[in-house]
Symmetry: C2
Subunit: 341 residues, 2 copies
């Protein structure tokens, strides 16, 4: 089969790889129906993460079960499944508490499995994959694919930030995850949703998904605008979806004392000053999203037509053109590239 | 009247100061019944906080109301009151959400009011002070004084760390606040309470207040011991009551993924690595404790004899000997010094 491999910064290639097979009795092998490129894939693509050897790219996926191991109980060959970028057993104490993104027996699809490919072996299949009710219509596939990471991650961030009715939410980051954070905030009943964005087309999409206010300023100026909108106090809930020092500080400073911040932008070289965190009294939690926890609910919402996250994909290419997909996102010509098979 | 003033590191003196009077209609003036020295007072005493000018020391207090301003509604002259180290109106949005330690109109007693003194003017008296039911017996006064900060702070840390039934709690720091964190964890129903301490007399007090396990190791070794005790996962809830880089990292690393950490040691020169916080998936919140929120409940528990926090005071001196009280704590001859008037 063919799969994407990153050899060096800027050098991603679709190459022949071994067809995956069942290794553990808890595995499933899936044939990809669609996959995509993540903002987090750009970190190694841009050389901002160390790359010691070529790595298998891609961690977002929907597909059809081709084979299951002897211990797989909830999935059958032929099922259409959505999976999380984090492998989880969904039975350990950590998963049962809701944190499937940090399963005690978990691992990550990125780098070692790589789902920008025709097939993939998914370990701990019962705990990682969720079957849709029947084979979904084609028009639902992009939305279901979004659930695999960006929607699930935005949703996790919103839940982590304790978004709810009556709350004012600020979203730092206008990439796909930030936009899905806006969608999640709207679904979770937020009263006011401030999208921090300076790109007109992303602002429009943020408004489409439920943003009530747009703040174009960044850093301290952005914080000052959020404070103006929130009676000087800051937002109740802040979603951070970038991962830089500036965006983290902007998010912390945009949160009111006692407020909650969910940070899901993969952080790189950030240092949070303890004294500021102390006096800010912001509740902070972040990390690899527990997508698996929300997948059943998200699949329902998508299949019932209640949400349509598919608009985060503004470029669709065949898997063959994966390299162009990376280039378009790197150059910010595209928010997110969907790859068809 | 006389009050303690810190002139330079190690140089605290009881001096004549002006008698406080009502300035704002929301003020009360109290006559101190007892006061004490806080671990956080040692930071400037040890020269670890910049001291640009002499400052008024003390922020823990119980006393009798001597005068009230025209707008004070809940207090009368003669009431015995317990107050928080944080001034709060208890009516703003932040206070109403429970975060009285960061009241939108708040300030701190430390440095400007100073309650290691005979009298004190307390601003926003209705929102800061709570009257006890009648005049408490003398033997209850040390416990009520503890509620003013160390008990309230330990309680806030435990609530912030989401301590509850069935949970395993680790407490980093065996000072008065850490010990009160142990007491709070016990009251809040924790199943297992790990006190991290290497001092036999503090270990004994931790056990008295409810610790089920003692870990003497610090740093990575201490983390490893907590993991051993918790099936490799880390504690559900961690209370941090020191405020150094080492203690903060020890606390974060002792918390399981998805677990909660409340940090109340006043942080000094700490930097928290964002990538570790990201992958740890620890819920983090800290800061000046919202003591006022818990005071009515804590006063009840103390007056009903359900808790006795007074054992954190292992040295009692008259206010005259405040300088010796600081020395004893600085040299770790005392956990906490109570000052009588």
């Amino acid at each position: 089969m063919r799969g994407a491999i990153l050899h060096a910064p800027g050098d991603v290639r679709l190459e022949q790889r071994d067809d995956p097979t069942i290794i553990e009795p808890t595995d499933a092998v899936i044939r990809l129906a669609a996959t995509c490129i993540c903002g987090s894939d750009l970190w190694p693509y841009r050389g901002l993460e160390p790359l010691e050897q070529p790595i298998l790219m891609g961690h977002e996926y929907v597909g059809i079960v081709e084979a299951v191991g002897a211990d797989v109980r909830t999935l059958d060959v032929g099922d259409f499944v959505v999976g999380s970028f984090a492998i989880s057993d969904n039975t350990c104490e950590i998963c049962q508490a809701g944190y499937t993104g940090r399963c005690a027996h978990g691992s990550f699809v990125h780098g070692t499995i790589g789902t920008q490919s025709e097939y993939a072996r998914i370990p701990l299949a019962d705990g990682t994959l969720v079957a849709t009710p029947g084979r979904p219509d084609d028009h639902l596939i992009p939305g279901l694919l979004a659930a695999s990471d960006v929607l699930g991650t935005g949703w996790f961030a919103a839940v982590s930030a304790e978004v709810g009715p009556g709350k004012t939410v600020a979203v730092v980051g206008d990439g796909a995850v930030g936009l899905m954070g806006v969608l999640a905030a709207k679904q979770l009943g937020a009263e006011r949703i401030i999208a921090m964005s300076r790109h007109p087309e992303r602002q429009a999409l943020a408004r489409f998904y439920g943003a009530t206010d747009i703040v174009e300023e960044r850093g301290d100026d952005g914080v000052a605008r959020v404070k103006e909108i929130t009676n000087g106090l800051g937002a109740h809930s802040v979603i951070e979806a970038v991962g830089t020092q500036e965006s983290m500080m902007q998010a912390i400073r945009s949160t009111r004392p006692g407020g909650h911040m969910g940070f899901v932008g993969v952080t790189h070289d950030t240092q949070l000053p303890g004294d500021e965190l102390f006096f800010s009294q912001v509740h902070l939690v972040g990390g690899p999203a527990s997508v698996r926890r929300f997948l059943p609910q998200l699949i329902d919402l998508i299949c019932n037509g209640q949400i349509d996250p598919s608009h985060v994909f503004d470029l669709t290419l065949p898997l063959d053109q994966v390299a162009e997909g990376y280039r378009a996102m790197d150059e910010r010509r595209a928010i997110k590239t969907l790859l068809t098979l």
